[in-house]
């Protein structure tokens, strides 16, 4: 039996990673359980300079999910390097620094700066739907996905994961573009662009008008896209979108995910990622399997 997976030479003790933006830098959830119970954690999206984010309301619930438009509020990469990155260095968990920018120069600058981090990997956020030029511009066309990936890969010594947006014509084309740009892996899906409306006031509920939808309601979309990307590329796929249980993890891995990320579920239950990792380990033990054997094992109907 084995729950460990490897992505770009980095070993994860289990395939459970917390998704960027739902987990801060781990400190708050670290009060509920040891972070070492997880395979990895993805940091809040970092930018070169501190960012204030959007005005509230920044989130609202939708049926089976939520919309958010936090707008990448973060203390900036220098603050991260001086504080959270050092604290996380003592934790037995893979740390993935999620980075974002408004321009190609921003991405190159932060890709270079992150070389000094303890964080073992970098996740490129080129698909944030909530910020004007918050990377989304880079996430739509395959040509720009390749360009920004290649630019960061060139300067960054750490394996680069390109996080893909589902709000595109054909996500498999974007996965191929990330691979062509030198990405070590892709992660998908980022949130689906959406809107919630108050019919009484005739206004969108979020101050930003639009937001990114996540939670169980997006899972079928995510599974299909993970399967499509798995079949399009050779590099590993990290799957996310609405995972709330270990059986969801199994579904994503069967569709081709080497590892998964848990996001919105952290809000429903602060121990969600811990519980999922524990339940998955129990399943692997009971059935005496190597979890890697599940990856891409989907059997399509005739």
């Amino acid at each position: 039996m084995n729950t460990a997976v490897e992505i770009a030479g980095v070993r994860f003790k289990n395939p459970i990673i917390t998704a960027s933006g739902t987990f801060g830098f781990g400190a708050e959830y670290g009060e509920f359980y040891p972070l070492s119970a997880l395979g990895g954690i993805c940091t809040k999206g970092l930018t070169i300079n501190p960012k204030q984010g959007n005005p509230p309301p920044r989130a609202t619930e939708v049926y089976g999910g939520m919309l958010n438009a936090v707008g990448l509020q973060n203390p900036g990469v220098e603050h991260f390097l001086a504080t959270d990155d050092k604290r996380l260095a003592d934790e037995d968990v893979v740390v993935i620094a999620n980075v974002a920018g408004a321009t190609l120069e921003d991405y190159i600058a932060i890709g270079e700066r992150i070389n000094d981090a303890h964080a073992q990997m970098v996740e490129l956020n080129i698909s944030c739907p909530n910020v004007k030029q918050g990377g989304m511009a880079f996430g739509v066309l395959p040509s720009s996905v390749e360009k920004v990936t290649a630019a960061v890969v060139k300067v960054c010594k750490k394996p680069v994961i390109t996080k893909l947006s589902p709000n595109v014509a054909n996500i498999a084309d974007n996965a191929r573009a990330a691979e062509a740009g030198g990405a070590a892996a892709v992660s998908l899906i980022n949130t689906l662009s959406g809107m919630a409306v108050n019919w009484k006031t005739r206004r969108p509920i979020l101050a930003n008008n639009n937001g990114g939808m996540s939670g169980p309601c997006v899972k079928p979309v995510a599974l299909k896209m993970v399967w499509d990307c798995f079949n399009a590329i050779q590099i590993p796929v990290i799957g996310l979108g609405g995972i709330t249980s270990y059986t969801d993890v199994l579904e994503f891995m069967i569709c081709g995910a080497r590892a998964v990320q848990v996001g919105t579920a952290n809000f429903t239950s602060p121990t969600a990622a811990y519980d999922i990792a524990r339940d998955l380990a129990e399943y692997v033990k009971q059935n005496d399997i190597d979890i890697n054997d599940l990856v891409g094992s989907l059997i399509l109907n005739g």
């Binding site: 739902t22 801060g24 708050e28 509920f32 984010g53 509230p56 920044r58 989130a59 602060p270």
Partner: protein, 254 residues
């Protein structure tokens, strides 16, 4: 920190559109007034917990009360929860409010009043005057509970159908002029804070308010509930759930 499973001992209508729920815990940690509990809605459709101020608590019985208005699908579902059902609840969250002076004026506007009893329960050794304001008599809650705790309660309604007619901010201003308190705590809709902040009566009296915002994690990680406060060098967003919900009235960008 841990998530707790609580037993619902009561869940009853106490005013028009307002429910009061009593939750019993195996172990109840220390609670301050102004802190809140993050309650999981018991179904798969509602992925976000609902933050409610801890209305009151009983250390010995290991219970808390929450008072909530049924305003959306989540609170409608919670209103259906029956006695002896279990709910996941995270508590206590937020900074809370600890009165320091001897003479304290508490101001509650509508459902904001629900935060006040716990303040008195946590620190019963103060002299409390409480101004409560509601739209009309059908919305009035908590008057008796606060009086039982020894607080002096002045009730006002917008239309005069219960207590005196008028706005709670005007009543509070009158009380401050007549008998200047050492400090003020106010909880209600944002409009009350805007009006209170302009009252010259509060000048020189430490005044705290409790903010409300749509929340994600409730523990400070997701930055969903942030509000703007004035800090050195300008305004910045801070977390209502972790840095608040209680702030000085002067530091909040109203």
């Amino acid at each position: 920190m841990k998530d707790r499973s609580a037993v619902v001992l009561a869940n009853e209508r106490v005013a028009d559109g307002v429910m009061k729920m009593t939750l019993k815990f195996d172990d109840l940690p220390q609670i301050e007034g102004g802190q809140f509990v993050h309650v999981r809605v018991p179904d798969g459709a509602h992925v976000l917990r609902r933050p409610f101020c801890i209305c009151d608590f009983d250390k010995e019985e290991r219970t808390i009360d929450i008072c909530y208005a049924v305003v959306g699908a989540g609170t409608a579902r919670l209103a259906e929860v029956r006695r002896m059902e279990r709910l996941d609840a995270l508590l206590p969250l937020g900074n809370g409010y600890v009165p320091e002076g001897g003479k304290v004026l508490l101001i509650g506007g509508g459902m904001g009043s629900a935060v006040l009893p716990a303040i008195v329960t946590a620190h019963p050794d103060k002299e409390y005057t409480v101004c409560l304001g509601f739209g009309d008599a059908s919305k009035v809650v908590l008057v008796e509970e606060l009086e039982k705790k020894g607080a002096k309660v002045i009730l006002a309604t917008d239309n005069g159908s219960a207590g005196e007619k008028g706005y709670v901010t005007d009543v509070a201003a009158r009380i401050i002029r007549a008998d200047r308190p050492d400090e003020i705590f106010c909880c209600g809709p944002e409009i009350i804070y805007k009006i209170l902040a302009k009252k010259e009566e509060i000048a020189g009296i430490p005044t705290k308010i409790s903010l409300e915002q749509r929340m994600g994690c409730g523990i400070g990680a997701c930055l969903v509930c942030n509000c703007k406060v004035k800090r050195a060098g300008g305004e910045e967003y801070v977390r209502v759930c972790k840095d608040g919900p209680v702030f000085d009235i002067g530091e909040v960008a109203l």
